[in-house]
Symmetry: C2
Subunit: 780 residues, 2 copies
Amino acid sequence: MPAEKYCQMKKIFVLLPLCLPFLGSAQQKTAESLVQYVKPIVGTQRMGHTYPGATVPFGMVQLSPETDTAGYVKDGKYNPDVYKYCAGYQYDDQTIVGFSHTHFSGTGHSDLGDFLMMPTVGKLLLNPGTAGKPHSGYRSAFSHQNEVAEANYYKVKLDDYNITAELTTSARVGFHQYTFPKTDRAHIILDLMAGIYNYEDKNVWTYMRVVNDTLVTGYRQTSGWAKNRTLYFAMRFSKPFTNYGNADYSKKEVYRGFWKKFNQGDNFPEVAGRQIRAYFDFSASEGEKIKIKFALSPVSMDGALKNMQAEVPGWDFDQVKAAGQQLWEKELGKITIRSKSTDDKQNFYTSMYHTLINPTVYMDADGSYRGLDQNNHQAGGFTNYTTFSLWDTHRALHPLFNIIEPEKNADMVKSMLAHYDQSPEHMLPVWSNSANENWCMSGYHSVSVIADAIIKGNVSFDANKALDACVTTARRRSYEGIGFYMDMGYIPDEKNGNSVSSTLEYAYDDWCIAQIAKKLNRNDIYQEFIKRSQNFNNVFDAKAGFMRPKLADGTFRKQFDPLSTINEGFIEGNAWNYTLYVPHDPAKLIQLLGGDKRFIVYLDSLFTMNLPDKYFAETEDITRDGIIGNYVHGNEPSHHVAYLYNWTSQPWKTQQRVRMILPRMYKPTPDGLGGNDDTGQMSAWYIFSAMGFYPVAPGSDRYAIGSPAVDGALIQLENGKTFSIDVKNQSDKNVYVQKVTLNGKAVNRSYITHAEIMSGGSLVFYMSKTPSNSGFTVVD
Amino acid sequence: MPAEKYCQMKKIFVLLPLCLPFLGSAQQKTAESLVQYVKPIVGTQRMGHTYPGATVPFGMVQLSPETDTAGYVKDGKYNPDVYKYCAGYQYDDQTIVGFSHTHFSGTGHSDLGDFLMMPTVGKLLLNPGTAGKPHSGYRSAFSHQNEVAEANYYKVKLDDYNITAELTTSARVGFHQYTFPKTDRAHIILDLMAGIYNYEDKNVWTYMRVVNDTLVTGYRQTSGWAKNRTLYFAMRFSKPFTNYGNADYSKKEVYRGFWKKFNQGDNFPEVAGRQIRAYFDFSASEGEKIKIKFALSPVSMDGALKNMQAEVPGWDFDQVKAAGQQLWEKELGKITIRSKSTDDKQNFYTSMYHTLINPTVYMDADGSYRGLDQNNHQAGGFTNYTTFSLWDTHRALHPLFNIIEPEKNADMVKSMLAHYDQSPEHMLPVWSNSANENWCMSGYHSVSVIADAIIKGNVSFDANKALDACVTTARRRSYEGIGFYMDMGYIPDEKNGNSVSSTLEYAYDDWCIAQIAKKLNRNDIYQEFIKRSQNFNNVFDAKAGFMRPKLADGTFRKQFDPLSTINEGFIEGNAWNYTLYVPHDPAKLIQLLGGDKRFIVYLDSLFTMNLPDKYFAETEDITRDGIIGNYVHGNEPSHHVAYLYNWTSQPWKTQQRVRMILPRMYKPTPDGLGGNDDTGQMSAWYIFSAMGFYPVAPGSDRYAIGSPAVDGALIQLENGKTFSIDVKNQSDKNVYVQKVTLNGKAVNRSYITHAEIMSGGSLVFYMSKTPSNSGFTVVD
């Protein structure tokens, strides 16, 4: 019976949610598909480094087209394309090379792109060709008119072959559906050489075993960004191939005379080598669909096959697509927003989508996974994850998970602790990827993720063991200046290229450790680390008014350009931005910078100054749009900066800046991201900020209040409660918060707490076009 | 109480074995150590291709010194040294490069040599140096005076460093004991690049993880003779190293900027690369022993560590050595011989030793192993073996195992059936090695091993399944001419370089299949294969009197040199020798060759003709001594030939030839083997022949009677029974058998049967210096 009629019949039950047209919350929206607002194409143009292909939330498989890839070196020199093709797809390209099964989302470093598949017809070409000479290889022209990119669904017409390719996935299985024209020369190419961040020595080894005429298993070993990585596969065709073969493009081969009994390129079922491209031949009737299920495993070929059987036993493409989109609905539905603007909904749910891709599941369906120690392990009661871009994601992504994905976030912490147990350096992960540590970026920000979980009560792991792991990591003297930092309170500039930013980041991380120690009553550790957390003071040059490289003799380095990011003691940031990196003690920072007024001037200057052109050239991973004045939103160290006004007498400037940043940095278009999405951190910043609050210092239970850009939001908590946000009088002009109430009571401080959210309740913002102190009378 | 006194006291029990001084058997010898007669140094000079190092029976570890190794190509050309260094050790060399953990025994193809270790003192040199410039690298001079090679024990003084190195093993663990001079610069080098049959592209990848200051784990992947091979290790030092490091000798490396946080060559615990050499530093007091336990696993590093814990939990070198030698005593003791000649005992027990090395255990202590399908498997109720050189070993080694090692031989069959299950070509092994098939040599002789086991009743596997595997293998049309063979009854010379020898070998193998089918009442299969077994007739040229290459049109190839082994349609043999390769139907062969008299002339000619020099040059893997006339004992196809006289009117010539071959081809000296020992086949020929009988056609239950060279032998059977051989009046001149009795009854035929042996009993040979028909009145 239609709901409308039901309500008429049972007027007494008119308050039943079923009938409620509007309850001041987003509840009525739950019936609406949120997947429709996800635009995976966002960020695929310029520097977003996202990919348009198919994946499920946190999926091991990210099945997406490559328009090109690049190696680090070309003609003996650095190849800038290696950066451009981090995700293998650039919107402006004209051809598609094929569809591979693994992709980083929004990273600033290339890798993955495993197991590239490409359907073709006609003459068999085993090389990919080039963008300049596309017909010399198997790649095909395509156009965006014939392209569909949804959450867990990608479709494109390959113009050169008149083939429609469709892709969908489950967590561990990529599902291809290729619709062929009538042909007796259909080929499906499996290029085991191909990869993102590819060059000769990346491919260590590949193995392929043709089990029968519909099943192929194998593995690929690479030494790329992950130095020592193996990925196993099992591939099943919906239709027997009539013929198959391969070519080995490696230069040399060990002599094996007796193997010549077979033509190893032709229908020979055991293929092994460094540079292999394989093909499988079919004939097809007009419009015939040939489907491939391609399962991955970090453990074994057997594991991949079992993953396939567990997740995709049948051949119904639409069912797999629908199941994956249902998973997305469930995850996206954890926050339902109200907004008059479709663009805003697309921004919001595309951001949600991007936050729910990483970290990725790194474990077979049966719980076995390859550990950092290169042994296989069984995950005891948790899901093992990889792809931890922690320098980025500790800031807002993991805090977001502590609200909407606490169980998964606890499993991520367990994965980090397993990494620690398996680490011969006895360190928590820095940037871990596929059972490898690549030591990317600075700090030991695992401790921030762990502290945030513990402080927020999301602790299904052994908190004391976790604290020990944090402490051991933070005392690893041989790691990037920690010894100097421990002995001298800062890292001397002579000893480390990132001496200042590392000192600042360690100080924040140490504060996180102190917070855990305090909560666990481990006072000796608290004392040690709360002291270390003040080390930021040691690199502040009061004369210059900036954090500044300091020499071993205690003097500041003479050469100093606070606008430059190169050789100035900072990583991905300049002194102007990084000076503000004291998220755990803004009060002290304000004091260092001369007090309330001078601090406000500093912040205002940052956002409004005219950065000379030469400094843009230094920031390679963000577009010019990614910079506002000298505020660099495309790089993470400034992500908390707009919120620092909350610690001043002018909190409304936080509201103003946030509402300026949101529409400038996030658009629902291919070029909509101002910089790398950084495995979801950029998008997590959007989610928090659009809802009106932000975790300035993860490890604290507080969220700084900003300015919500939606009309309302309802957060479905895993504990069964809901937290609603209602924004009165919100508009592009009404960006200032007049007052805030929580469960009907005025909030007289510039923050809300995690406990307040998790208890459920109703947060109401009253917006205005006039700046005020927002009713924040308590400064803390 | 002394036995003598006991016997005096209890005279009534005088027949108790305890008191028996001599019972016409070798029983009284059981107290004597047989290990003392094993000389592992035999065959290390010239072409024996054995190694002098330590191993236990069928051990996974063969820990032995390398004096040098070679790659297949040198300066762009074939390098003959690759053949010379099949086992890594040549007696005439002056330096030792190090001690590696895996070696083939007596093969005609190089491989293995994994994980080379070398202790040094003084300046650290990480390259091995060359024989010509030994001081340029870590190798050391040594002399045979300071060298001891026993079963499971090897000792040598490294003159350059004044270090005494001792080696022993358990099945899966190599145990090193290095006695150092006083030094603060002791190094133990682990060369992960080194290997036998080594060149640039053989090393696919190596990984090493320093778990702590006494434990290192890792693995090595190679693509050598085994195309796709990984071997895992765990290495434990008896004393913490003070420092460690490595160098990567590979030419290129993928860029990983953040790894530069560490000096990866110095005390960095995670090492991965193509060409790694590592070192561990110690200081040592005068005479200090530093010990290393080095465990292997085909499955995982965890597996290697578990193997170490299971087999060698402690640090007592002498105990491990003694335990391994005790295993040898047990195996060697399965046949105790009587002989007046120490040389004969050394020949016999060194031969026994060489027969009990291969196949090798390829499974962890917990039963897991890497299968041919590159997946890990659990062996269900059997020990999994590898190193199956079946073209060699089906002839006498596996038949010998059916007598003295039936349980292990049945497990070897089970391993072959597992290989079949895992084979994407659905074939039984041809030459399998470390979860790889290398297709070496010709035929499908697994079926001979399986038939021999089934016919002799050694069947703890599924015989019908085994028959199916045999049949499927034998019908693999795409494999080396089988399709032609099935369609035409022979392989046309145009289609295959070994057309004649393959036709002959397939015919024999098919007869084996027919024997199984007959026993299992599978009449259709019997009919098919007994017919195929007569295919040898199709390549016999009656005009020439030889087996001869035949063209597809049915005519014999015109160009034909029956003395040449090159391009004449045979593999490792010429027409003169290979024409006699009809082991399953000598009667028919005699008929083809013109009847009894002409056949005897043929055989006599083979043994006595003068082979022109140019033909010696063609037989690269045997010394000139390995050839008698034109009879090539160093290659296996003639191993049954001396016994063929038994099918003629002059069986005494078998006795004469065998007694001529034995002392000429087997000597207890470094150069004592006339050709490659071929993983024990040459030695198995010795064991059988020295005891007076030989399995001419494995798959038959008969052993052709020859001429025993020992005075007696006692075979301890696994069923608890004993079979004794007593040889009356045996001497170098009394080589002719006058008569034979079995359990007191005259044997009037030229063979005994397997059942007769396995029932236990007493075989007595009466020897004479005069030839006779030996009492063989029944011709069969």
